[in-house]
Each structure stands twice: as structure tokens, then as C-alpha cells.
Point group: C2
Chain length 425, copies 2
Amino acid sequence: MIEDQDKREPLSTEPYKGVRDFYPADWARLTATFNTIRTALELWGYEEYNASPLERAELYESKTSEEIVNEQTYTFEDRGQRRVTLRPEMTPTFARMVAGKRRELPMPLRWYSIPNLFRYERPQRGRLREHYQLNVDIAGIADAKADGEIIVIATEILKALGAKTEDFIVRVSSRPLLAAACAATGYDNEEAIRTYSRLLDKKSKMTLAEFEAALGPGRADPLKEIENPTDEKVREEKDKLMSLLEAFRARGLTNIVFDPEIVRGFDYYTGIVFEVYDTNPANPRAMFGGGRYDGLVGMFGGDPIPCIGFGMGDVVLMDFLETHGILPEIQTGPQVYVGTPSESDFFAAQSFAAQLRANGIRTLVNSSSKGLGDQIRDASRRNIPYFIAFGEQEASFGTIRMKTLATGDEQEISVEDVAARMSGS
Amino acid sequence: MIEDQDKREPLSTEPYKGVRDFYPADWARLTATFNTIRTALELWGYEEYNASPLERAELYESKTSEEIVNEQTYTFEDRGQRRVTLRPEMTPTFARMVAGKRRELPMPLRWYSIPNLFRYERPQRGRLREHYQLNVDIAGIADAKADGEIIVIATEILKALGAKTEDFIVRVSSRPLLAAACAATGYDNEEAIRTYSRLLDKKSKMTLAEFEAALGPGRADPLKEIENPTDEKVREEKDKLMSLLEAFRARGLTNIVFDPEIVRGFDYYTGIVFEVYDTNPANPRAMFGGGRYDGLVGMFGGDPIPCIGFGMGDVVLMDFLETHGILPEIQTGPQVYVGTPSESDFFAAQSFAAQLRANGIRTLVNSSSKGLGDQIRDASRRNIPYFIAFGEQEASFGTIRMKTLATGDEQEISVEDVAARMSGS
């Protein structure tokens, strides 16, 4: 029924522009990394949630400018004239779900998710149209306990992945501190504060002269007010932040520091904001970050619920692990290749394989009509560590020869001992 | 910076029409099920792959009618005038990825994936706009070894999930057999065979009179030819299928039977086709199925690569598990709640929690200013099995009282013994 296909041009094997195919080795590395993260978070009582990548467009339009929604998201109309967006970030979905069951959910709640996110942008290094992003959030704690916990969690995850304390540094600031400093230095409305915040967000990529030119002649820099507060409110907000940092130091966490230049892009932050930097001198860059957003859940009606969280993208994370030589070992492929001396041995080999599988050994059985030499080469090519030829002879004698492919060593052992020897490997 | 939001109408907390939110308990149940499937498949040497839900629309247009692509898929144009489709099935992506690395990939390959799939249709029971679907495929084996393995794998997965042999039955037929029987009874072109196949696919939902009326007056029914073959080619194809079924019986698999009425919807099948039915008399329905498709990879250029596989949707699967009382137990939430007698005990409690976590115990620490009674009620509400109050007193005495919330029992044990006692639980 597909004869008529033959006349067509061959289809392209390329994925859609800006997205990735995950072949088994790549996917295994990514899921091993995610699973380490899952275990670390669940030890702290965090629970995984998920949702569809399809969201009503209004979820983003109400808190971001329509321009951004139209230009940087995948937004389209469905056949029922509903405007649909492929989620560009997970926080609005998190807030929506928390708001949707606010009466039933025990607060505070600690949730995480590892969604794929979509952004319509030109593909470039580390910037894809789809990526995975770990999201970790706490809802229902307004005070510094949650601020402290979420930052500790960010560091715990990196440590669980094998990073050392000196491999990264957490830079923390506070939106209310920045707002107070702006107010104290003549930035007297929302728009002026927002414009300054955006400039500050880009400061690390500018020269000092460029920054001052952009600031405008004679304009005071709120950063100076933060450095040496003269205003009461600025002093108060700075003290609050300093006592949080003091608490980290008291717990021996010395790689968490104050950095007033940390802003973060989203408008919805209302408290502390932080970014985690790779300290690798060759590439000292921001890897991920987050902050407190106490107003988002209230947009769905009802009282606000204080929230704090962060998002960590898979591309930057895997780069970090690779740079520091701590990519996870992959252990999902078959552990043993059961070869068949002749085709008539297939069912005997399958019975033997069933025994191994019952003992938890990942087992591949040859299904080709090739000779044993070719089968051994096939096993090597697949990076399977052990090879056992198994036919009716082995079935009747009760002993097999197990070959370790990396060394070429062969050992004769009883069929019963195979499972024990493999599990120990 | 969100003050201006307050003036707006509250946002809806509903997800987009026809898709699901997965709150932690629901997601935990689904991932526990998927993880059991993963383990079962990996024991057979299957490896997980993944890809983006965004695909070039031509991937589907070339093998399905444009009508279906336009009416039953989410297809839209991106800002670069590329037509994009949210994948409605995984098989074309699998074929594309296999074709894309056909020179590097060791054949045969055994892959699986658990993608989310999208269909634009009216939401109804069991019919969502997005669902998850396990896909299991073998590429590179043309003979009955793969036909047999893929059907055994389908049954192994259900058994790994706790189903008994009598809970389901596999019904097998063959497209070449059906095509030969059609040819032998006067259906002399592709279109006539396709029309008959579609009618046969619906037969189980019709009365016999309706079926015969739809067949047309005086029209021969190819099913009768399959039952008692007169044609040489029909006999040959039927013998081939019978010997496959004989091989299952020889292995003691008695719930795999021949059913000539099995067709399957996709045009790309070229060999055996099968469907797995729930045998529950209250609801004896098809749960999932698959078949052989030897022509799909060749559509990307190069020689064809024979393939066989199946897809199993999450909604029907979870219904099956629920009906048969074998939904997985959920074990992802915290195992112990560490309460704090007073707020000043928070850091002592955190140090104690760190010890538990280091021993692999999922531990939640109270972060409220509530009294111990309220904390115990909070732990119960969260279904956390154990409660331990821990403050500076416990830290200095070295003993704690561990409360089992289900029974109210309390035991006094040393701090060192907690981990051992919890792991054993």
C-alpha cells in the first residue's frame, strides 16, 4: 500500500529547525542527569508535577507584553478560535496549577518539574527553539526560610551531580532593595525603575563608559546608594539581605555572595533574585537563576500566595558538567550479548536469556544468522561488556564461557553463576 | 512591579481544552508505571530515545492524506513560513531518526520512547488532545523473529505491570494475507482493497446485515477466502502466520490468537498486524496494537529497512490497570516529617534532616511557626508515614521519639537508629 510513495522525492531526515533529536546515548546521559536531580530533590520532600506544553495564550499575555508573546513564542489559533501558546517558561503554569487547587493543596508546597520549553528565536550556540528546564518552586512561605532553602537546593543539586563548592558561586540581590535605591536616587515611577533595571541587567556586557552614557548625563546611579545607603528604606532592605547571607555563612556556605548587579529578566519578581555562575576562569558565566514572586498566584483570583523558585536549562547544565568532567556514566544498554552458535540455538538462547532477565541482567540475544565471530564484533560495536555463546550444547552441559570484551578474557562458569557474576560487575 | 496586574480580571486556572494537568500524585502514578515499563524493556536490550514534538509538517503529509493532517493535527506556519506539526504519532519520527543515522547505527536496533502526542479532536472519554504513548520498535529484522519478539514484548510489559495472562489476549492478522484474499476475490486495485480494509476495521461495531449491506450486493467477502483458502498465495500467507502462532503455542503463550478481522488504521503496515484486548467481560476492548512496516524508512532515501513496532496510550493503559486493581503504589512523597518544638529549633532540625537525607530518607522539615499538634496534623494530611519532633533537646540527648502516624504508636530510639529503622520501612 505504499508503492505510490516510491515515486516521491525522499523526505529529509533533519529535525525541525532549532530542535534536537535525542539518540539513545544522548537521551540516556540527559535522563541520568535528570534522575540524579530527581533523587536529590525528593530527599528534601519535593514532588514532581507536569502539564501540557499547550497553554492558553492569555496566561502569558497578562504578565508579559503582547509584543514578546507575539515575537518570541509559538502562538497560534486553534480551529475553535482559541489562541494557544507553546509554553516558553513553566512559572505561569506552576502558578496556575497552585491557584487551581489552592483549597486542597497542603501549604507550603515544594514542587519540581522538568518540562520542555519553546521559544521562537534564531538558533545559536546554547539557544535552541526547544530546551528542557528544571523548575523548582516553593509556594506558601513568605519569609527568609524559603529564600534560604531554595538557594541551598540549587547548590545541593549541583553537588549531587558531582560539582565541587569551588566550581560555582551564587550571586544574590533583592528587587525591593533595587527599587528602594532607585526611589532614593530620583527614579520616581515604575517605568523609570524598569528602564534602569534593564540597563543594569546588561551592565556586565558593557564598558563602564558605555554604561554611564546609557544611564544619562548627571543621572545618579542607584548602585552607589546600595553600596553606601543614605536612605532608611534602602538600609532596611540591605540589612534584610545581609542577614540572609550571614545565615549561609553560619552554615559554612561561603560561595553565596551579595551582588547588587543581579536583576533577572522577568518583571514578576518581588523579593530576592539570584544567579548561579560557573567559576571556570575560561568561561565564567551565569548558568541559571531565580527569585521570589509573591504576586503571580494572586493573578488567578483570591489572596496572593508567596512563591520562590528557579529554573535551570539543560544545555547550560550539560555544558557545565562536561567542562568540569562530571558528565554521568551511562548504564542503560545491554550488559550481556547472548550469541547463538547456529540459528537452531535461538530458542535455547532465549530460555537462557529469560533466566538472566529474571535476575535483572539487561540481555540482548543475537537474532541474525551471522557466525559467532561477527556476533562478537557486533557486541563490541554496541559497547556491551560481556559475550556468552549459548546453544543446545551449553544447555545440556550446564556451563558457559563468558567473554569480557574489553580485555578478551574468557572464563568458564556454571549457568547458575552467571547472574551473580554479572550483578557484581 | 506587578501592581498594575491587580486591576485586571482574574486569569482562569483551567488548562487548555483537552489537555491534562498532572498534580504530583497523578504524575507519580504515571511515572511509576512508565518506569516499570522502562525496566522491562531495558532487560530485553531496548534503549530509550526521544525527539521534539515539533516536526516538519511534510513528515506526515507524505504518508497520510493532507485532509487528515489539516483536520486532525495541530499544524501551523512558523514565522519563517515553515509548516510545523505537533506530532500526532511517533512512528514517522522513529523512521526519520533511523534513516538519519542508518550508517552509524548497529542494526538491528531495539528502541522505545514515551512521547506526548497531539491530535486535534473533540475531547471525549479516553480521547484527549494530548496523551502519552509508549512506542516500541525493532528496525533491521525482516523475518518472524522480530514479529515474535515484538508481540512477546507487548505481553511482557503487561505482565511486568502486574497483569495476569488471562487479563488480556493478543489478536494477530497479516496485511499481505488480507491483500491476497482481496485479490483472490475480485478486489483488483489498491483503492478497492483500502475501502474493504476500512470497512473490515469497523466490522466489530456493525451488525452482520449492516456489514453485508456496506460490502455491496453480490460482493464476495475476502474473510471467507481467508477462512478456507482456495488461492495459492492466500494459503501461503496464511501458513506463514499459522507457523508464527504455532511458535507462540510451543512457548506456552496461549493468549495469542489469529483474528482475520484485525486491520489497524495506518496505511503503512506491510506485514503482521496485531491488537491487544482487555478480556474483562464488562469492557472487552482493544487497548493497543501495532504491526510491521517495512517501507517507511525507505521514504527517506536509500534501501528500505524492515521495521515492526507498537504504540500503547497512557489513558487506556491506566484504565486497564485500574479495572484490574493493579495501579502502582506511589512512593515518592516524603517518608518522614521533622517537626520543630519551637522556631529556634529550625537549624538543629535541619542538621538532623541532613543526616537522614545522607542515608537516603526523603525528609520534610517543618517551616511554619505552628505548634507540634498542628505539625502532626499537617504530616497526616500529606500522607507522610512518620513524624519526629527534633529540637535542641533531642540534639543534646541523642534520642528521639518516632511516631507512626497511621497507628499513633511512638517509639523512643537513638538518633543513629532512625535511618536504619526508616530504610526498613
